[in-house]
C-alpha cells in the first residue's frame, strides 16, 4: 500500500474515533473507552502528519549561514547630568517597587509565641476524637489513642498520643516523676522532624514510628529518637488524674511541638 493510502487510513481512523467519542458521551461515558478513542483520534491525525512529512514532502537539505552578532564598540562617554538623572530615576522606581511589595506582609500574622504554645492548659481534660473525656481506669495497657484538650478536638498542634505501659518499665528522664499516673504516658503526636502525625505504634519494643520519614521514638525513655532523621524527643505532656478519675494535663508542653525553627530554644514566656 502506498503512502497516500496509509495517510487516508489514518485520517479515517481518526475521524471514526472522534465520532465514537460523541457516541460514548451521549451513551453516558466510560473513562477507559474515552481515553482510547481520544488517543485514536489524536494518534490518527499524528500518524497521518508524520507519514505525510516523511513520504509525501520533498524537503532538500539546506545550509543556512550563521552570522555572529555585531557588537558595537562601547562609547566610553563620561557621566553626564543626563545619565545621573537616569540613575536617580532607576533608584526612585526601585524604591517604589519596594513600597509596593510591603502589602505582602499582610498575607499572614506574625508568629509571635504561636509556635511555642498549644491549646493544653493546666487541668485540661484529655478527650478523645469524639470529645469524650478519658478515664485513667479505662485505658488498657499496650493501647494507643489520639487525645485532645477538652474544647479543642481536632486541634492540629495539641494532638497528643496517650499510651499505657507497665509503670515499672518506664525509664523517663529525671524531673518527670508524677507525670504518668498508672503508667499513662502522653507525648505530642507531631514528629519533631517534619511535623507529620506519628501514627504507628510497635508494641513489641514500645516504639512510635513516623510514617513520613521513618523516625522512631522510644516511649519508655521519654520518646527519645532511636532511628531516622528526627533529633529531638517528642515533647511529653505531664498528666494527672482529677477528682472524677479522668486524665488531665498538668500544664502545656514544656517545649515547642512539631518541627524545629531557628529560635525554638528561646522558650521563655516572660519575653512576651
Amino acid at each position: 500500500m502506498n503512502a497516500e493510502r496509509w495517510v487516508l487510513v489514518a485520517l479515517v481512523v481518526s475521524a471514526a474515533a472522534s465520532i465514537g467519542l460523541l457516541v460514548v458521551y451521549v451513551l453516558g461515558g466510560s473513562p477507559p473507552v474515552e481515553g482510547i478513542l481520544l488517543a485514536l483520534a489524536f494518534g490518527g491525525l499524528g500518524v497521518a502528519s508524520v507519514i505525510w512529512a516523511a513520504a509525501l514532502v520533498h524537503a532538500p537539505l539546506e545550509t543556512e549561514p550563521l552570522e555572529p552578532p555585531v557588537v558595537p564598540e562601547a562609547s566610553g562617554a563620561p557621566v553626564t547630568r543626563r545619565t545621573f538623572l537616569v540613575r536617580a530615576a532607576i533608584g526612585a522606581v526601585a524604591a517604589l517597587g519596594a513600597a509596593l511589595a510591603i502589602p505582602a506582609l499582610s498575607l499572614g500574622p506574625r508568629p509571635g509565641r504561636t509556635l511555642f504554645r498549644t491549646a493544653w492548659t493546666p487541668g485540661a481534660r484529655l478527650v478523645d476524637g469524639d470529645g469524650r473525656p478519658v478515664a485513667a481506669a479505662d485505658v488498657s495497657e499496650g493501647s494507643v489513642q489520639t487525645v485532645f484538650p477538652e474544647g479543642a478536638v481536632g486541634s492540629a498542634d495539641a494532638q497528643t498520643l496517650l499510651i499505657r505501659v507497665n509503670p515499672s518499665d518506664l525509664a523517663l528522664p529525671p524531673g518527670r516523676e508524677g507525670w504518668t499516673p498508672d503508667g499513662c504516658v502522653a507525648y505530642s503526636k507531631l514528629c519533631t522532624h517534619a511535623g507529620c502525625p506519628v501514627g504507628l505504634y510497635r508494641d513489641a519494643d514500645h516504639a512510635l514510628l513516623c510514617p513520613c520519614h521513618q523516625s522512631t521514638f522510644d516511649v519508655l525513655r521519654g520518646a527519645v529518637p532511636t532511628f531516622g532523621p528526627a533529633t529531638r524527643p517528642l515533647p511529653q505532656l505531664a498528666l494527672a488524674v482529677d477528682g472524677e478519675g479522668y486524665l488531665v494535663a498538668q500544664r502545656d508542653f514544656a517545649e515547642p511541638v512539631g518541627p524545629s525553627f531557628w529560635n525554638m530554644t528561646h522558650n521563655d514566656d516572660e519575653a512576651e
Binding site: 488517543a39 508524520v50 492540629a156 501514627g199 529560635n263
Partner: protein, 467 residues
C-alpha cells in the same frame, strides 16, 4: 486574504524567514518539543479542570456518588475533585490526562536537559538559554507541587505539611515566611486558595513568558547541530520549517497528545478517593510524592539525625537536606556553562555538538550527578523497598546512605573509563579495513566505492543522504 493582512501589518518578510528556519534532523532535538506539547495539553486540560474545581477549604459533608466517602466531612476543594472525577462526564479522563501530562512534562524537561548537558549544547553562545531552561525547570517543579496539592487529600496534605516545615526551617526568616505563605500556623484554610492562584495564574503566566523567551532565543541563535559532512561552526544544515518540519512537529504534538490521552484513560493516577480527605491528625502510609520531588523526599529521609543549636540559633534537621543541598545542586547546574568555560578556558563560539565521549570529564560529572539524583529518588521509597524485600526499613536507609555517597563516584569513574575506551576503539578502528563504503549493485552483490573518511573523533558517520 494574505494581501489584506500584509497591507496592514507588513508581516510577509518575517513570516517567510520564520517558515524557512532550518531544523537539523536528529531525534534528540525533539525532546524539548515533547515538553512543549505536554505543556499545551496541560493548558487545555487545566482550563477544563478549573471550570469544575473549587479552591475552598470550607468543610462540607459529602453526598456524591462515591459510596465509601458518603457522609464524610471534607473540604469543598476535595469534594469538588471527587465530583470532577465521578460526577462530571469525561472529568476523570481529563483529570488523569492532566496529571499524566505533568509527570511526562517534567520527564521530558529532564531528558531534554540531559541531552543539552551531555552534548555541550549550552556552550557559548547558548549560556543564556541554559539559564532560562533551568528557570523553566524550577517553574515546572513549582507548578507540579502547587498542582497536586490542590485536591486537599491526605497525601497532598502531608506534602504541604513538609513544605511548611521546610520553609519554617530557614534560619531567622523561617517562621515569618511560613506564616506569610500559609497565612498562619499549619494547617490553614488560606493555603488552598493561595495555591490555586499560584497554580492557575501566577506560575503559568511566568512559565508561558519563559517558554516564549526560550524559543525566541533558539530562533535567534539558530539550532546547534551534530558534526557531519558540510556542517561547520558557522552554519546550520537541515530542512526548512515549512513544510517538512512543521508537519513532523505537528505529528509529534498529536502523537504526544494521543499517548497522554491513552494514559489518562486507562492508567489510574493520583486516586485521591483512596487517600481520603486531609485530616491534620492522620497521615497516609506509605506516602511518596510525584516522581520529580522524590529526590527531595529521599534527601530528607536519608539525612542523618543532625540538628545543632549555636548561640541560641537552631539549624533545624530539614534545613540542610531540603534547602542547602538542593540550593547548591541547582546553583551548580545553573552556573555549569560558566564553570566549564573557566576551567577549560574555552571561550569560543560553538555550533557543533560534542558526543559524550568527546568530553569525558563533563560526562563523568554529569553521570555522577544523575546517579546522585536517581539514588535519592529511589531512597524516597525506602519504606516501600523494605516492604517489597521484607527487610527492615532501618537496613534500607543505612544501605542508601552509603550508596548516595559511593554510587556517584563509582558511576562517574565508570563513565570516564567508558568514554576513554570508546575513544580508544575509535582510534583503532581508523585503521580497520572494514570502514569502506559499500553499494548494492543491480545483481544483488556489493561494490566497494571507496573508504569512509577516517574518524576525527567528532565525525563518526556520514549524514543520511537527503530526501
Amino acid at each position: 486574504m494574505r494581501r489584506w493582512f500584509d497591507e496592514r501589518l507588513g508581516l510577509s518578510g518575517i513570516t517567510r524567514s520564520a517558515l524557512h528556519k532550518v531544523f537539523p534532523d536528529h531525534w534528540t532535538f525533539l525532546l524539548g518539543e515533547v515538553a512543549l506539547f505536554c505543556f499545551l495539553v496541560l493548558l487545555v486540560t487545566g482550563v477544563f479542570l478549573t471550570l469544575f474545581y473549587v479552591p475552598d477549604a470550607t468543610s462540607v459533608t459529602y453526598t456524591g456518588p462515591y459510596d465509601p466517602l458518603k457522609g464524610r466531612e471534607m473540604s469543598a476543594a476535595y469534594a469538588s475533585t471527587l465530583n470532577l472525577s465521578f460526577g462530571v462526564q469525561a472529568g476523570l479522563v481529563v483529570r488523569q490526562m492532566h496529571h499524566w501530562s505533568a509527570l511526562v512534562f517534567l520527564a521530558a524537561i529532564s531528558v531534554h536537559l540531559m541531552r543539552i548537558f551531555f552534548t555541550g549544547a549550552y556552550r557559548r553562545p547558548r549560556e543564556i538559554n541554559w539559564l532560562v531552561g533551568i528557570g523553566l525547570l524550577t517553574l515546572a517543579l513549582a507548578m507540579g507541587v502547587t498542582g497536586y496539592s490542590l485536591p486537599d487529600d491526605l497525601l497532598s496534605g502531608t506534602g504541604l505539611r513538609i513544605i511548611y516545615t521546610v520553609v519554617l526551617s530557614i534560619p531567622f526568616l523561617g517562621p515569618y515566611l511560613a506564616f506569610l505563605l500559609f497565612g498562619g500556623e499549619f494547617p490553614t484554610a488560606a493555603i488552598i486558595s493561595r495555591l490555586f492562584v499560584f497554580h492557575v495564574m501566577l506560575l503559568p503566566a511566568i512559565l508561558i513568558g519563559g517558554i516564549v523567551i526560550h524559543i525566541a532565543i533558539l530562533v535567534r541563535q539558530k539550532h546547534s547541530q551534530w558534526p557531519g559532512l558540510g556542517r561547520t561552526e558557522d552554519n546550520v544544515v537541515g530542512r526548512a520549517f515549512w513544510p517538512s518540519q512543521a508537519l513532523r512537529s505537528t505529528g509529534l504534538a498529536l502523537l504526544t497528545t494521543a499517548v497522554l490521552a491513552l494514559m489518562g484513560g486507562v492508567i489510574q493516577v493520583n486516586p485521591i478517593w483512596i487517600y481520603g480527605p486531609f485530616d491534620a491528625t492522620q497521615v497516609s502510609a506509605p506516602a511518596q510524592p510525584d516522581w520529580y520531588v522524590g529526590w527531595l523526599e529521599g534527601a530528607i529521609r536519608l539525612f542523618p539525625s543532625f540538628e545543632i543549636t549555636v548561640l541560641g540559633i537552631t539549624i533545624p534537621a530539614v534545613f540542610l537536606p531540603a534547602i542547602v543541598i538542593p540550593g547548591l545542586a541547582f546553583a551548580a547546574m545553573a552556573l555549569w556553562p560558566f564553570i566549564e568555560a573557566a576551567v577549560t578556558r574555552d571561550h569560543e563560539r560553538h555550533q557543533l555538538l560534542q558526543r559524550p565521549r568527546d568530553a569525558p570529564l563533563r560526562t563523568a560529572i554529569g553521570v555522577a550527578g544523575l546517579t546522585f539524583f536517581v539514588l535519592l529518588t529511589v531512597a524516597g521509597g525506602n519504606d516501600v523497598i523494605a516492604n517489597i524485600f521484607r527487610v527492615q526499613v532501618e537496613v534500607v536507609t543505612v544501605v542508601f546512605r552509603i550508596l548516595v555517597l559511593a554510587g556517584p563516584v563509582i558511576a562517574g569513574v565508570a563513565a570516564y573509563l567508558a568514554c576513554a575506551e570508546l575513544r580508544r576503539r575509535e582510534q583503532a578502528g581508523a585503521h580497520d579495513p572494514a570502514t569502506v563504503r559499500l553499494r548494492r549493485n543491480a545483481s544483488g552483490g556489493v561494490d566497494e566505492i571507496g573508504e569512509v573518511d577516517p574518524p576525527t573523533g567528532s565525525s563518526p558517520r556520514p549524514p543520511a543522504p537527503p530526501g
